[in-house]
Symmetry: C3
Subunit: 262 residues, 3 copies
């Protein structure tokens, strides 16, 4: 069933090799804003290029449990980890339903818990507590660093981000996502036109380790730049479904932007 | 069949409540540029978030009647009203086939007639005549105010828009759409970069009544801004299919932009 | 099976007439970045508006041969020519596997060979050799002029482009594509914001002949501008799947931008 077992088209063409799933590095995470089942079926042709699907913010709250369960089953059959959006965790935290949230995630097959404080004011310590709590239930955890509001985000110093990321990792987060939202503008490592702040990205990688970071990178130019800077095996998130295969060609050195440059 | 009857995912999470369909306010209108049947099937998982589907401008003219009829059936089974694009009405008006147009719309299940003068020079009186004519055939009517060409649109004063909208409403239009096109730039209430002209939007709402206006708002930032200004139940149009669920999360206060702010 | 045989919706509405497929002019080429089969099925409702599908750059290399073959079959049943992306040709050229590439294209049903030098430094003479080689195997050939890197592309003069295009045509290329990539910015006939450089476009048309050129034109504003400048039957490429029907309405004079202007 897994598409990676099939003979590929033009398989006599040499490409940069990468590890197979489950991967330790070079992860690609796709943002699912409410895909329907036909679209998911189509997307699974590229399942070998997708490590994680994030059910975007609180979108599942508007969709039927029946449908979300079928979707999660399809993802898991294709060896894709399914995670929640950080905003949903923040909402249940504010509503004091975190325990119920973890149990329900287990029940429906959401195995990867994302812990963020992109909207709420939440101390580093409280965030670490939530991470430890999810870990203690046997779940995998990732954390996110950054604010959803560009003005609030701009008030975080680089050192603030590093401190928070280090605290999250110490509490048990598998890796830290650098927030960029669906839009990839004016937040974290991106400027107002979506350009990469290279010095900032490099410092984060130097301080935290490339294997401990995932950059949200919705735009092709962002993906290409990060791959040229950090190599094929940089972890990238918030990929649009129509760009999943395109991203893999960037990683493999078979798109114009990276051909002959990796 | 209607997805809203199903148990929702994470249904223990509290959200802002809204009226069920058929709604009087807080309508969401999706622009169908020629969706295929698999895509429509997927979209119907979010049918409870969609009040109206507009068959964009004259796109149905290029598609088979067989397929459009099946699509309209699917929409109507899911309690979604189907409307024509205003440009198609303007074309048949110019070709002196308005009567034939109304009859054919009835025949294929297009129940909502949009009357616009976005391309043609059409007097307010002629527009009102068309609205009355459609009403007399038992159809629901909405009107659109604004020009498709940014230069022409910029020559309409705010008072021109209010006068025309009032005339349309008086002639029987159910509500008035504020034109923004598919792109949402340089027209009506949006500036050249898609930012909302808040004073203009507020004056329109004050003069016409929030329940009598639908703002076309293709971009997320426009949707979020209008919801923060006018509340969850502002009528919004030209929503992209992939953004329907995202819009509903904005209205319900469970996306970063509106979480804790409504 | 071909949708063009069906009775169209609103078929009493007069539109600008165009030749049927296979067309000699007014071609529309769609960029397939890895569509799944449900999406292809949907897209085939508009098959009468699509002349060519280009399998974008090296994306097929990441997909199963089984799936690509099924996709190509669907396209061919609907009288759509299938072509490779130029970057893939450049990769096999560099890997000295051009002959194997041509044979494999024949085997899987890729009938249209695109020859480009958008990434590699390849002399005009070498490019012409590849074109002649593909022609000698009975394949149709198109060529592409322009560089994928904006900086490199900016160093090509207009005369360079004309010389190369003339050499390609003389070697047997059916027509020449003016490179714009998926993004349509800062390359060839487009400026940094995607605006059309009209003088440049006109000179290319004057020197090479409108029937010998296809403009890549991913954005609606680019498509509308080129149709208004050169007429309904300008050849346009890199159309997004969701815009295929919209483009046809532009060509037929039934969208706001071209209604009453062709």
């Amino acid at each position: 069933m897994e598409a990676s077992d099939d003979k590929k088209t033009f398989d006599f063409v040499n490409i940069i090799s990468r590890s197979e799933k489950p991967r330790e590095k070079g992860l690609s995470m796709v943002l699912d804003k409410g895909f329907g089942l036909n679209q998911v079926q189509d997307l699974m042709e590229a399942a070998h290029c997708i490590d994680i699907i994030k059910l975007a913010w609180a979108t599942p709250r508007m969709l039927s449990e029946r449908m979300i369960k079928r979707k999660i089953s399809l993802y898991r059959e294709n060896n894709i980890l399914v995670g929640n959006g950080g905003t949903l965790l923040e909402i249940v935290y504010k509503q004091k339903k975190t325990e119920q949230f973890f149990e329900y995630c287990c029940e429906i097959g959401v195995e990867l818990i994302e812990v963020s404080n992109g909207v709420l004011s939440m101390s580093i310590e409280d965030k670490a507590d939530i991470i430890r709590s999810a870990k203690s239930k046997g779940m995998s955890v990732i954390s996110e660093v950054g604010k959803k509001n560009p003005l609030e985000d701009s008030m975080l110093t680089l050192q603030d981000r590093i401190n928070e990321a280090e605290s999250d990792l110490k509490a048990g987060a598998h890796y830290v996502i650098i927030e960029a939202r669906e839009g990839g503008r004016s937040i974290g490592v991106y400027d107002d036109s979506g350009g990469l702040k290279e010095d900032m990205a490099k410092t984060l990688v130097d301080e935290l380790g490339i294997e401990n970071i995932m950059f949200e990178a919705p735009d092709k130019s962002q993906q290409a730049r990060l791959i040229l800077l950090f190599g094929s095996d940089v972890n990238l998130g918030n990929i649009r479904p129509e760009d999943v295969i395109a991203l893999e060609t960037l990683r493999r050195g078979i798109r114009g932007d990276t051909f002959g440059k990796l």
